[in-house]
Structure formats: structure tokens, C-alpha cells
Symmetry: C2
Subunit: 393 residues, 2 copies
């Protein structure tokens, strides 16, 4: 009845606890959502102004690769961090998700392989199932802050079927920011073995403690191999806009993106106008946004360290931390928090990290926490989590 490829899609680890949360809400329990990457930060005014400025009478199709003026603005933004791209290198997609699916379809035939550090953003796994490509995990661990292993650990994973490596920096779900050396390591392996690097840089600005972001475009001689996956969802706190892009200097990939893009006509029209204005005025809101996330990062890290038996490295960027909890099965615990526990009518919802791993059984005692709620609430949520763990054990 249903195809075998769709049967292989695992339900989102982030969303599969939702029915339990809904039951708890019905009982009047307040839930702190640390389980999803939906920020509470206001979508900046320039985005809303842009939408108001849209004055066409007909909401028509845009170009399949996005409005040229928008692609110009994206290119200008990319060049501000030394990417050295032209507007035609920018292909606008319906969210970063569509960029991932298109790139899988373009680079991989069925069974072709892509290396990806695990834990990884869960939709890389589900979209990979839809495209029927195979993801091969590069192991990383909480002990070394989920940084990349040496080339000797990565190169043996390469087979004749390997088409590319997928990285995400700053990382969802770990909060890790790859160093210049790590980016050079990946680029070096790519050039040596003629592999694509798919670099997800959606959280590019979300950096703490004076870290710098190294884009794959900052590494020389990667023109042929580098593809950046990007989105305005987090940068402009506009997840519902569904505006993303794939950026590459590889002409063949750009032509193939156009073939896929024409098949679905175009990305949303109005939101490109909003995003255009937000790109023009990033300086007006990004620094504040980062300051806010930094405060929250500090709260989460401080509170995790108060939980005996837990372990986390200091998150370097994005707005997530993946850490070890002193419970053997976090999924069971997360469910228990929603069904059996509350403290003064409140509980905390978390995302079990197991769903971010490709290797069965890995990450069972780990959790991803998204610090996307206000500081005070966040502290309360973390203290409730601590109380839950004490009671659960």
C-alpha cells in the first residue's frame, strides 16, 4: 500500500512526544518547550515592513530560482564574510529543507553515500530516506564537545559510492562550532577524494565567546565541491516564512537545481520581499539576538552542571546543547516527565538525543535542549528538569 521508501522514514524525535504533551496540557499542566527549535524571539521589524511593502495586485509566481533582487541581497550578505559569490550562485528554496532534498536528489542516486557527523539534525536522516541515499555516520562524542575526529577516522568511511560529506556549523543538535582546522580537514578530504561538502550554515551568526564562523566558502579552492545550505528561519526568527537557499559555484549543480526548481515552480513570493529588507538591516537586530541567546546559553549550562551525573561541554554556538543525563533511557524519562511528573503544575519537555543518531542504541542517555524561551522561564524549566531526574531515579 505505502512505498517502502516512505515506510523507512522514522517519525521526528522532536515531535513524537507531542501527543503526551497534549494530554498533559489538557490536564492543565504548563509545559516548558525545550524540545523544539522554534525561537520566541520577535521576527525583526524590517521583515514585517518588507511584507507590508508588497503592493502587487496579483500574487504571482516568482522565478524558480528566486527573485533576482533577493539573490543579489543574499550574495552581498555572503560577500560580507568573504564568500566571493555572484547572485546567480544563490538558488532560493522553500526553506532549508527543500535545499537538502534537492541536493540529495542531485548528487546521489539510490544507495549513494554521504558521510555525516552524528548526532545530526534529524531531518537530514528523514529527507535522506525519502531520497533513498545512505548516510554514513562520522562518530563524535559529548566528551570532546562533538568536535570532528582526525582524518584517519574519517577517510576509511569513504567508499566508491561516497558522494559527499554533510556538516553543520554551528551545529544543530550539539551547539558545536567547527574551527578553521576542522573546516580545512573536511575541505582537504573533499579535494583529495573528489567529494562534495554540503555545509549547513543556517546558524552562522549564532556564536558565543568571540568565536568566528568559518564558512566552507572561506576555504580556498573549494569552488567545485562546496554547497552551502542556508535559511532565514533562525537568523530572522521567521521559521514559518519557508525561505532558504542553496549557494554554490558549481555550474552543474546550479543547472540541476534549476531542473528540480522548475518542477515545483517557485518558492513563496511575499516572504522573499520580507527577507530582503531583513538582510539590509541585519545589524539592527542580530547583535541583540546573539546577546539574548548567550545569556540563555549561560543559564542552561549553569543549570545542567547542577544535575549530579550529567555532562555537557560549553555550547559554542547555535541555540542547542546536547548533553548526557544520569538516566539510562532519556526517551522513557522524557515521556515520564509528560505523563507522570509535574512540579507545581509545570513540567519540561525535552528531545531525546537518540533520534539524532544513525547508529542504533547510541545517544540513549543524551538529550538535546533548545534554549528558545526567556531566561527566567528557562531557569525554571531547567530546575524542574533537575527535580524530575531526582524523582525518576
Amino acid at each position: 500500500m505505502i512505498s517502502s521508501r516512505v515506510k523507512l522514514i522514522a517519525p521526528s524525535p522532536i515531535r513524537k512526544l507531542v501527543p503526551y504533551a497534549n494530554e498533559a496540557k489538557k490536564k492543565g499542566i504548563k509545559i516548558y518547550h525545550l524540545n523544539i527549535g522554534q525561537p520566541d524571539i520577535r521576527t525583526p521589524a524590517p521583515f514585517w515592513d518588507g511584507i507590508k511593502y508588497y503592493k502587487e495586485e496579483v500574487l504571482g509566481y516568482g522565478p524558480s530560482d528566486g527573485f533576482f533582487f533577493f539573490r543579489e541581497a543574499v550574495a552581498e550578505y555572503y560577500n560580507s564574510f568573504g564568500a566571493n559569490v555572484e547572485p546567480y550562485n544563490v538558488f532560493v528554496t522553500t526553506g532549508g529543507s527543500e535545499a537538502i532534498l534537492f541536493i540529495y536528489l542531485i548528487l546521489g542516486d539510490i544507495g549513494d553515500e554521504f558521510l555525516i557527523p552524528e548526532p545530526s539534525y534529524a531531518n537530514y536522516i528523514t529527507l535522506g530516506a525519502m531520497a533513498q541515499i545512505k548516510l554514513i555516520p562520522i562518530p563524535t562524542s559529548v566528551e570532546n564537545g562533538f568536535h570532528l575526529p582526525k582524518a584517519e577516522k574519517i577517510e576509511p568511511l569513504i567508499t566508491p559510492k561516497t558522494r559527499g560529506m554533510i556538516i553543520c556549523t554551528p551545529n544543530n543538535p550539539t551547539g558545536t562550532v567547527y574551527t578553521k582546522e576542522e573546516m580545512e580537514l573536511i575541505a582537504g578530504i573533499a579535494k583529495k577524494h573528489k567529494l562534495f561538502v554540503i555545509s549547513d550554515e543556517v546558524y552562522r551568526e549564532f556564536l558565543f565567546d568571540s568565536r568566528h564562523h568559518i564558512s566552507i566558502f572561506n576555504i580556498p579552492e573549494m569552488e567545485e565541491y562546496a554547497i552551502v545550505i542556508d535559511s532565514i528561519s533562525k537568523r530572522f526568527s521567521a521559521c514559518g516564512a519557508r525561505i532558504g537557499f542553496a549557494v554554490t559555484k558549481n555550474r552543474q549543480v546550479l543547472e540541476a537545481l534549476m531542473l528540480c526548481g522548475m518542477s515545483r515552480l517557485c518558492p513563496p513570493t511575499i516572504e522573499q520581499i520580507g527577507a530582503l529588507q531583513a538582510f539590509k538591516k541585519m545589524d539592527e537586530f542580530i547583535p541583540q539576538m546573539i546577546k539574548e541567546y548567550k545569556r540563555r546559553r549561560d543559564v542552561v549550562y549553569e543549570e545542567i552542571n547542577k544535575i549530579p551525573g550529567s555532562f555537557a561541554c560549553l555550547p559554542e554556538g547555535a541555540f542547542y546543547v546536547t548533553c548526557r543525563l544520569p538516566v539510562p533511557d532519556v526517551e522513557e524519562f522524557a515521556k515520564w516527565m509528560l505523563t507522570e511528573f509535574n512540579f507545581e503544575g509545570k513540567t519540561t519537555m525535552i528531545a531525546p538525543a537518540e533520534g539524532f543518531y544513525l547508529t542504533p542504541g547510541k545517544g540513549k542517555d543524551e538529550v538535546r535542549i533548545a534554549y528558545v524561551i526567556k531566561e527566567e522561564e528557562l531557569r525554571d524549566a531547567m530546575q524542574i528538569l533537575k527535580k524530575g531526574i531526582e524523582k525518576f531515579r
Copy 2:
């Protein structure tokens, strides 16, 4: 370098003449666009009002299957023509295009087959290549107004790999509206052979000469087999909104849609609010819209019949007509119209119908005309087409 599946995607027959059109425009030639399905009709006021009403501070993710209040409005609209569906039967997608791709992935594994009357909407073909399913053409012809052949012509096309039949009524690219008997024919074959019917009803309201639309949901006992593909693009003249939906009573298909849907997070948020308002006030703008298209249909049909050697049946719905022209290779002629011809500084751009056929060589002397420009201009465009043909021969 590029996967074999993406290499198989043929460039859009509608868009591949665009570079020639751009050259002509540079020379100052005015082009009448009868080649694309982008209506010039104003997006109705209630849609724009809906967008203005969106007052959230954060443009957040919506549910993967769309906002429940929007699905309620869609279900109510479906029930107004006797579909008898519930809100949970409606799955909101990013345009009808995404609904097609998801349904291909859900119902078909690689090499699985779907029957489809040819000529067919070109993106069924390109999205089919991306999903690696196989489309088997059900032949129809201009002589009988592109109506369906008898069961004896359809059933022999069914193999053990056949998963479903795709129909589109009112039809893009032909303007044909299937009768109750034709819908029953398809439904009967579906039930007999346990095949899905994917019924694209995007142009449901676009009917002329007192015709009635028969939805696949109006045929009894199709709960398990019927999937409707739909979109607000044409109905609300809002192609750039990217709001579509798949509607089905089949639980397994709904669950599979959710798995695909979670992988891309959600459809655009704001446009669902716009579409909600437009659904509530359809009576305020749909009748006028149909009246306008009817006048244009009459103009196009009248002018086609003035071209010696051309042949068309009277279009019954949608805003297209596919007709035979007295030129052996319409693609060559369409290119010539853009590169070599103009009348008083104006020319007409048309879509060669060959790209809508699956069978190589079929439709070479046919054209699809979209009557999406104002009556006066449309008449001028058709007269220029006639002059072009006279000169070209």
C-alpha cells in the same frame, strides 16, 4: 557528477523558450504571454485582508499538516460539493507541486507505474522523474476533445507494477472537463484493479456552458482509493502563495503524508491565513472570475477557428486550450515567433504541446494556449499568431 535521476528531468516546455523571449524584449518587442498559466486576475481582497490580519510577533513554524482552522475551512469548502471529508483528511502542502511529489513518493517505489492521460501537465512528468516512478500514457486526442478512451483501451495498460491513475479535471493543458461517466469509468477501473486515483482538481470552479464538476469524491465507495490534489494558486489567483493540499480518506496515506511533511517542517504560515479568508468569501469573486475566463475562452476559440488548417474543440473548463496548428513543428515555429517575427513591434509567445506528451514525437503540431491576459490583448495576440503562421508557412 550529477545523479542520473536529475539528468532525466526535461527542462520545462513552458520555460525553455524564455531566453529567446528575453532577447526579443531587449530589442523592444512587446510579447503577449499565452505560454504560461500565470493569470492576470487580481488576487481577491479577502486574501490580502487575511495577510494583513496576521498579527503574531513571531513568524513561527505551523503544524506540518497545516493549521487546523485552515484545514477546517478547506473541509467545509469540500463538503459544499458533497465530498464528505473531515479536517483531518486535508493535508496542507507547499503548493500542489509538493502534494504531487509526496504522493509519488508515498505510493510508488522506483519503477512503479502510474497511468496518466496524455497530453498532461508537464510537472507530473518532471516530478515523476525526481521520484523515479514511471508514467504510462493513456492516449487522448484533439479530435475527441481529449476525452478518455473506453475501459478496453485503458485496462491493458495495467501491469503488476501499476499503483494508480492520475487525472486532472478540468484539465491542464487541454481544457477538457471529464463527465460523470468518465469519472465512474476511472473509479470502476480503480476499484476493480485496486489502484489509487490521484485526481487533480485545481481548476474545479473553472467551468463553462453550465457544466458541472464531478470530483472523485462524488463517486461512491472510493474512500480507500481517492486522493485529490488541490491548490489555491488558480482559484484565488495566488500562484506565489505556495499553498496546496492533498485530500484523502485513506488513513495510511494520511499517516505517510505526515512522515513526509515532518521532514520539511511546514508549509508557509502567513498565506494560510490569507487563503482562509478567501475560502470564506469565495462567492464574492469566483463567479466574476469565471465570467471573465468564459469571455476569453470565446475569443480564443473564435480566433483559432479563423486560422486555416487549425483544429480545436471548444474548451470546457480551466483556462487552456490545446489545439492543432497548420505547422509541422510548433516548437520551431514558437522559437521563430520570438526570434524572427513581429507585427508592429509585437509578437505572441506560445507553449509547444510536445512537452506535455510522454510519447516521443506526439503533439509536434499542437500548441497549448493559456488565456490569462485581457480580452482585447488576447484578440490582438491571437491575430498576431495567425499572421505569424501565414508568414511562417
